[in-house]
Every structure is written in structure tokens, then in C-alpha cells.
């Protein structure tokens, strides 16, 4: 069914990302959150030896990794929202101090203030794709994949200067879309 190579390789990349993440979860390495860059690079290093033949080089891998990251983060944010919503608009039941502490211990740490609303970003990014797919791709690679300008240029087959210009426009456009999104 999935004839396109990206969807075939996705599980492979995704699996590797998960495996690395698991080592963080087990406490083998410190840190509550890790940068996508670190994770993606590490996954590449691990996969490069054994399964690099699946990928048309490093750039191909990075592109898939960025896409996985976006899916993972969006999926997660959506699930988290669904859980928060619970059974519709209602007051929180455990309003007592004791249980609230307990609840707090179970809640995953929310992002620091000023963090990006991943769902809103994803939605805005989809709109940007409709307008200018290349620009959106640059954002996906830079933000979700943690790629540098040079790496993005390599993946996209353009020059770093072009990527820089695209990146500036995409950031301004998205910032505006997100700020507007609050109102409308």
C-alpha cells in the first residue's frame, strides 16, 4: 500500500527515535526534555551504520526525521488536549489541596511560558503549505527537525542564502498567523 519511500522508512526512523528516547526515560541520561536536533542526529548516527542504505544519504534521513518529529509532537499535543478536555466543559473535581498535589504529580510538565502552541503552529504551517510549500518545508526542517540553515539547503537542493531568505519570511508569516489566530 505505501509505495512512497518516505512512508516506508518512517517506521524505521520513528522506531529509532523512540529507542533513543527510551534511554532518556529510563534515566540513563539526564534531562526532562531534549532538543529535536540532538535526537535526530543521534538517530542518524545509530542508523547510519546498519541501515544507511535505505536512505539516499543523510539529507533524506533528516527530512524524514523532521516529518516524524512534527507528527509526534502534534499527535502528543492533540492527545494531551483531549485528555484535558475530558467530558466537556466542567469544573475540576479534585479541588482539594491534597488531591491537587497528586494530580499535579501525574500531569506532565507543561511547556515553559512563551512556548509554542504546537497545534496552532501545525495548523498555520498547513496553511502556509497551501500558499508556498517550500517555505513550509523549510520551517518543518528547521523547527521540527532542528536542522541548520546549511543542512536545510542541502536537503532542499538550494543555497544557504535562499534558505535564510525563506526562513525570514516564513517566520514573520507564521508569527503573524499565530498572533492573529488568538483573535479569530
Amino acid at each position: 500500500m505505501p509505495s512512497d519511500p518516505v512512508s516506508e522508512l518512517m517506521p524505521l526512523v520513528y522506531d529509532e527515535l523512540r529507542r533513543i528516547a527510551a534511554s532518556y526515560v529510563r534515566g540513563e541520561r539526564p534531562g526532562q526534555t531534549i532538543q529535536a536536533t540532538a535526537l535526530v542526529n543521534e538517530a542518524f548516527v545509530r542508523l547510519a551504520g546498519e541501515r544507511a542504505r535505505h536512505f539516499n544519504g543523510r539529507t533524506h534521513f533528516l527530512a524524514i526525521a523532521a516529518l516524524s518529529m512534527r507528527q509526534i509532537l502534534v499527535q502528543r499535543a492533540r492527545a494531551r488536549n483531549a485528555i484535558k478536555r475530558g467530558g466537556g466543559p466542567q469544573r475540576v473535581t479534585l479541588d482539594d489541596a491534597n488531591a491537587a498535589n497528586v494530580e499535579a504529580a501525574f500531569r506532565r510538565p507543561e511547556g515553559a511560558p512563551g512556548d509554542i502552541d504546537v497545534l496552532a503552529l501545525d495548523e498555520a504551517l498547513s496553511r502556509l503549505t497551501a500558499l508556498d510549500a517550500e517555505l513550509a518545508r523549510v520551517v518543518e526542517l528547521r523547527y521540527f527537525g532542528g536542522l541548520t540553515v546549511e543542512e536545510v539547503a542541502e536537503v532542499m537542493g538550494t543555497s544557504p542564502a535562499t534558505v535564510k531568505r525563506q526562513w525570514a519570511l516564513a517566520r514573520a508569516w507564521l508569527k503573524r498567523a499565530l498572533d492573529d489566530g488568538v483573535r479569530s
Partner: protein, 484 residues
Amino acid sequence: MTPQQWERLKNLFQDALEQPAHERHAWIAERCADDVTLLREAEALLATHETVGTFLEEPARVDPGDLETLIPGTVIGSYKVIEEIGHGGMGVVYLAEDTRLGRLVALKSLPSALSMQPDLRQRLRREARAAATISHPAVAVVYALEEVNDHLFIASEYVRGETLREEIARGPIAPDRARAIAAEIAGALAAAHDAGVIHRDLKPENVLIKSDGGVKVVDFGIAQIEGPEATRLTRAGSMLGTPAYMAPEQLLGQTVDGRADIYAWGIVLSEMLTGHHPLQGRGDTRHVHLTGPFATVIARCLHADPSARYVSARELVTALGSDSLHKSTQGIESSHEGGLTPAPVSRFWWEFHQAVTALVYAVMVIPAWYARGQIGGWQGRAFFIAVVTTVVVATTARLHLWFTSRFYPGELDWVHRRSSRWIRIADWLFGATLVIGGVMIGDERSPLAIVLPSVAVGVVVAFLLIEPVTTRDAFKRSGISPSS
């Protein structure tokens, strides 16, 4: 925006950035003289660019735990993940399709930290096997423990419905219903204990209420892990058991038997009745004062000393049956009971309002019948059916409220919460139908063309202006807020 416009905007913006910062705006204005929309867009983008700061500069951060979740479509052994349906201390639950048997299952993925430990894995295997032997209608069946690479999954019966937590969040549950649910849970516990399985994590989140009203307790035996390995897992987000529902001996890490489940059951029952956790706000949990229905039963379950609790889950069912509902025992505090206390005098006008409104609605069926004839055709029939339907809903619900208030004041709070939205919808539809009916009567001389819309106005005024007042008066003392 057309592709051409976008292309132009893009070039404009990017070229503007090549200009010295202070000349950019003038530069753009000069080039957009012919197109104000474009100018405005370009100006806005440029302005945003100047204040964009570090927006998106820092790559996304990932919580490693997030990567333990599976995206829809992932295939695990013979299971295909459809969507995530829950997330708790013991991992993430997915709705998945068992492609071998073509049925839906709840697939719980256990934290990788757990599945990495051989002895824990061994224990989970044993536990899953035991859990699979429990046979009781209120126990969600465990199908299998699946081991795929480094990951452990428990496949169990998929139960469609909402959690007891969601139901409690809507407000206290009527004593009769709470009793029925609690009895079902106790039955499930008894069956599990007979099979040698202790739940260890009974809480409203683990009790599902099916759409047909049946009860299912999920996650049997999954929390059967204790000791130092478990405490290592107190990373935010994963922990075994839920402290708020844990018996003292379980919290202290001592040996636990079925009586720990009985403790949790007592808390769940109390929470169903009052809408909140019985130990809330109390630092000293050794002295709990309870009032209201089943206070003695709950108090016995919550004993810190397991030997003072009921011995078996079967006893719970008997105890529920023998407790008379409105008996108040061991009462000291009564603050939570406000919602269940009737306020008869101030409630008279509210009851009067409900009864009169119901009567007026019912009487309106007569003019509606004549209006049907005057409108004629299928429109007339549709109009009449709409009137009768809304009248039936609104009057039945109102009379039920009136009846409850008269004869079962203790349950009024609950009934009111449940029915007020229906009544509100029926009121609006009734008013709207009358107006539409009035308009559709072709003959302007017909008195009904005036009467129907007038009554509609009266109805709207009554429920928008008068009802909130009588409701507030009636419920003020009993702590119910008028829900409108």
C-alpha cells in the same frame, strides 16, 4: 491571496530585507503604490519581522516520554494502532485493531522503563495470565500480554463509554445509582480476588460506564508491581498506583492484599456521592468524618488498619444493601451536604413556576391543532408535530422536577443538573415553533396569527427573566447554582 500576489509579496519582502533597515518602509511604499492591499500585507510582515525575536529559532523540544506514544497506523505485532484513547501513570492506551481476529482492542503500552527489567516482565506475564482468568461481566477481559521488541503491551477488551471520573465531574451521583455502580465494582473485585488478582489501582478513571449503563472495571492486575523498581519510576508522568486512592499499607510499600482494593472502593463510593475525594483538604487522614448515605460503610472501608475493614469484597455488596439510604451517621461536618438539603419554603414559587409553565405548554396544544388546519398541508402537520414534541419534552421534564422537588427533595439537585439543558432546548424550540406557526398562517384575520407569536414571547420572557429568579431563590440556600 492568488499565487501571483503571493509571489509578488514574497519578492517584495525578501528584497526589502536587503535594504538598510530604516529605508525599508519607504522602499516598500514606493513599489506598492498601485496596490494598497499588497502594501498593507508587506508592511505587516515587515513589522512582524522586526519584532519576531527568537520565535522558532530554538528547535522544538521533545519530552522523551512523548516518543513512547505511537502514531496512528503504527503496526505492533498483529495490532494496528487507530488512536490514543488515554494516558495515565501506567502508560498510554490506544484503540487498536487486532488484525488477526478483526476486533477492536484496548492496547496499553507499558512504560519502557518497566519492560526493560526481566524480573518485572516475568511478573507482568504471570499477572496478565491470572487477570485473563477473571470472569465477571464487570471486568474488562484481558486478552494477551504482547511482547514486541523492547516493548510490552497488554491487549484487553475495548469498552466504549465514559469513565466514572467524567460522570463524577458533572456533579454528585444520585445515591441509588451510586449504590448500583458500587455494587458492580464490588462484584468485579470479588471475582478478581477469587482469581488471586488484586487491582491495586482502583479509581474513577479505571471504571468505565458503558453506553448501556453497564459498568466495567479496567486495568486489573496491571499495577501488580511494587518495591524499589517501582519507586524508580516516579519520573513525572509515570508512577504505579494513584496515591490518592492508595490504602496506607500500599503507600508504605507493605504487603498488600484485597483489602487495599476495598479501601480504594470506599473512596470511590464516597466520591460518587459527594462529587469529591473524601480526604480532600484534610491533613490528618486518620480521622475522617463522613455524613450522608453509606457513611458507616465508607468509614469502615477507609480504616487505616486493614483488619478493621471488610474482609472481602462480597461483604461490600451486602453492606450496601443493608444501609438505609438517607440515614446520617457519624456526622460532624455537613458542608458537602448542602447540595442535598431541600429548602422547602423558598422553593414554593419555583415549584409553582414549573407547574404553571408545564400547564401552559400543555394547553397550547389546542390552539396549535387549529393552527395546523389553517396552515394546511404538510407544513401544518410538521408544525403540529414540532409543537407536540417540544411540549412533551418540556412538560415531562418540568413535571418530573416538580415531582422530585415535592417527594424526593434529596435528589432534586441531581435531577435538576441533568434536565435543565433539555428543558432549555425544548423552551427555545417551542418558542421558535410558535413564531414560525404564527407566520405561516396565511389568513391575517385569524386570531391565531397573533396568539401564537404572543405566547412565544411570553414563553421566552418567562424562561429568560422569571425562571432564573425563582430558581435562584429556590436553590440559593441549598448551594445549587442556577444553570442556565
